[in-house]
Symmetry: C2
Amino acid sequence: MLCWDATGTAVTDAGAAPAVILICEHASAALAGDWTMASPEVLASHAASDLGALGLAKALAAGLARACGGAELVHAPLSRLIYDLNRSPDRPDAVPAQSEVHSIPMNARVTPQDKLNRVMQLYLPFHALVQARIARALALGQRPVLLTVHSFTPVWHGVPRAVEFGVIHDEAQGLARRIVQEAAALGLTTRLNEPYSAADHVTHTLRLHATPYGLENAMLEIRNDLIATPEAQAAMAAKLGPVLARAMATQTELSCRAS
Amino acid sequence: MLCWDATGTAVTDAGAAPAVILICEHASAALAGDWTMASPEVLASHAASDLGALGLAKALAAGLARACGGAELVHAPLSRLIYDLNRSPDRPDAVPAQSEVHSIPMNARVTPQDKLNRVMQLYLPFHALVQARIARALALGQRPVLLTVHSFTPVWHGVPRAVEFGVIHDEAQGLARRIVQEAAALGLTTRLNEPYSAADHVTHTLRLHATPYGLENAMLEIRNDLIATPEAQAAMAAKLGPVLARAMATQTELSCRAS
């Protein structure tokens, strides 16, 4: 069952309470409303969306639903060019005027009222939906694990990045560290808190939704050249899913099977 | 201006971005919907609402709006007998079958679906509204202080409580400790983390809404025999308001006047 809320954020509903809730804040490059001005080059870049992340997240959700007894995916319907859902409204990079080498003219002069409109039309409905899915699980007796799914560009300001799989933690470090341990089987260059860390304000979603409820959580970052096609996304999910399932089975109360 | 959202939670709107957002989760003893069975004795007791807290919170909001340049109050439209808005959905006391000496028959056998209905009809709209007011302030360039306003019963299981004013902190201790210092001028028996503390799960609202945004915050608990009448609530607010304003002026970026 696929449900759409009023703003178009998709939830793949696990039926009963999900063991895992995946969140993909940068799933889409779509523009809408008063915010439709961007060059084709920017729209195709990591500045507009986390390339490959939605396909990976959907495949991971399907695999973890089987392995852990239910999973849901909440993903954004619109581009981070309008509002970056993984940033607090007081952060300048919530509405970025520049993203790496890409300038974003429609964000060059954002009035407080314009920022507020973006908060009301994108940020609030998205996070209300995430909270609703978590509260639903809790009310039904399930304490879900939260995983945010992201991708990053292989070259940043001209410098190649060696890391291929980054696992980022906020306050609770346990699951992220366990995922890094289990990821040794992947054959990927895996690093804790690379290419970003909580100090870069990239764990906003985890802070809002996992920490207040004491839920196990981690942020997953895959280098986007490794998930450039649907086939590569499926292949990565087939390798990564069992790693995540093993880490959750060891670190959390979930009984995930790493088949 | 007084606005009502879809569920009847009142917001006293400060117009521009508020410097202070007050939250009163236990403001009402009203029952509604499928949950209307309670004895007159329970409805009149602290089990149903924090007696006097709404009147105090309204008077504090008016005073702090003048002192600090804008304040808002978000208060609950329905009783904690149906759902305690200051508790996570996985807590048994979110829907209490017993509150001190009062048994609550309508909560004796709550099914998961009934709990979920209460979460959807009370918990989620209330906290979505609180988050919307905070996000609005942040988008408009204001980092508001969050104060939750509560009252407690002077006798608990037959034992009188000596504390008159309790100030409770969650992770950030600064503002709560400063309020206790400033409260020396009140002539009340004031205590930090009494009669409850964060270990009793009473800081849920602060964890959800203040900590993720790094906002200064505190939970205020007044013994309810001190605010039993509208006159007593106004008198307490007239004394307490300047204490809070002084504490916020010292501890936060706000320029509050303690006139």
